[in-house]
């Protein structure tokens, strides 16, 4: 039962195609399981259509229609089939050929995509039951989707399929609940800033 959904702002940016690509990657996991948010995306797409209709026409090149018409002949007559919505990959697909790197007691990280041009990276994080991450805040937005297990912080309890969004300035200390390991797919833009001086000193070593 999903309880935590992405913000309208995130959903609209996704529908618009302006969400940071790695953030969209995390959101896709949630959308695959959440009809209500898919409906919101659909509304966003309708808004996109309405915005397109509302545009004041811009002049296109004189030969634009002729050029595209000429290209129609070269196309195969076979229409492309609708792409079936790919099921989100299971944990196995994400982790195949990669390994967990311990970054602290009971905390492991599996880097999936290194920091890109937008300053965003994609990781899996695995936290043992009962273990808390060091208290930290954020210099950029972060979005996480719980794959298994559960965690809690001051903003609530997050379970499989739930989305947790951290904005600039969010200062929190997530703690994995008891039971199984808590595994999250997480896209982080900017950096985490640990509160504790000790952790801050160790941070360059962990690379987060």
């Amino acid at each position: 039962m999903i309880r935590h959904h992405p913000s309208e702002a995130t959903l609209m940016s996704h529908a618009a195609g302006t969400l940071l690509p790695l953030h969209a990657q995390v959101l896709a996991l949630h959308l695959a399981q959440c009809p209500a948010c898919r409906q919101a995306i659909r509304l966003g797409e309708e808004l996109g259509g309405a915005l397109l209709d509302a545009e004041l026409p811009a002049a296109v090149a004189d030969d634009a229609l002729a050029r595209v018409t000429a290209r129609l002949d070269a196309l195969s007559s076979e229409p492309p089939r609708a792409a079936a919505r790919a099921a989100p990959p299971g944990l196995d697909a994400w982790t195949r050929g990669r390994r967990w790197r311990p970054i602290g007691l009971g905390i492991k990280l599996m880097p999936l995509v290194p920091r890109d041009a937008t300053g965003t990276r994609l990781d899996l994080i695995r936290v043992s039951p009962g273990v808390a991450l060091p208290q930290h805040d954020h210099t950029g937005p972060e979005i996480a989707c719980v794959l298994s297990g559960a965690f809690t912080d001051a903003t609530g309890e997050y379970r499989a399929g739930d989305i947790a969004e951290g904005d600039i300035g969010l200062d929190h200390q997530p703690r994995a609940l008891t039971g199984e390991d808590c595994v999250c797919l997480i896209a982080t833009t900017g950096f985490l800033r640990a509160r504790s001086l000790l952790v801050r000193l160790l941070q360059p070593v962990f690379g987060v």
Partner: protein, 212 residues
């Protein structure tokens, strides 16, 4: 990307002016253009009708180009993506379902996906992750009013939003920076974009459900 940020700065310096230019047109609830466009796409699907394609091109190519320019694309890049979008419209016409989406919505998603693909080619994801990033296509078609009606209502509702709410809708579509960065640039308190957008979306939903 560099061109886009220069564009952003210019826009941010005079947001109200852009909002005014963009939203002040009062739009009557007119479903006719949407229905005509849907008929043209059908004609392409059923008969490979080139006259219908040309008519659709005349209606949408200039708007697609304007949309891309607003997103910060240079003139030639905008022309290029218009070409690709219209070509994809031709190829995919048989997949268009007027009960599910208005023509403009469908064409918008083609433009959006092509743009995402282009960005992705410049910043590729590992292949096993790429499949998960497909934008969701909702298929729930149990609506009380049809797609063309919905779009016409949405346009009218957009035009009637308070300026500050209309602006955050526009920001979601045309500004690729994270919301917190936008807020910093606009000098408004953190969380304002989100709360304004929540209000705007709630209102749009009420309009679509016929409660306003």
């Amino acid at each position: 990307m560099r061109a886009a940020s220069a564009f952003d700065r210019r826009r941010v310096s005079a947001p109200s002016l852009f909002v005014a230019a963009f939203w002040s047109m009062s739009q009557a609830i007119d479903e006719a253009p949407a229905r005509e466009a849907a008929a043209l796409i059908r004609a392409i699907a059923e008969r490979r009708d080139r006259a219908a394609f040309a008519a659709l091109f005349v209606q949408y190519a200039p708007r697609l180009k304007a949309y891309m320019r607003r997103l910060g694309a240079a003139d030639d890049a905008a022309e290029e993506i218009v070409q690709e979008t219209m070509l994809m419209v031709w190829r995919k016409a048989a997949l268009f379902d007027p009960a599910r989406a208005a023509a403009s919505t469908w064409i918008f998603t083609i433009l959006r996906n092509l743009r995402i693909d282009m960005l992705r080619r410049s910043r590729p994801l590992p292949p096993e992750l790429a499949a998960a990033g497909e934008a969701a296509e909702a298929a729930d078609a149990d609506d009380l009013i049809d797609a063309a009606q919905r779009t016409a209502r949405l346009r009218a509702a957009l035009a009637s939003l308070p300026a500050e709410q209309a602006e955050v809708v526009r920001l979601s579509f045309f500004d690729e920076r994270p919301h917190a960065e936008i807020e910093r640039a606009l000098g408004i308190p953190l969380g304002t974009v989100k709360s304004r957008l929540r209000l705007a979306m709630a209102r749009l939903r009420r309009v679509l459900e016929g409660e306003e």
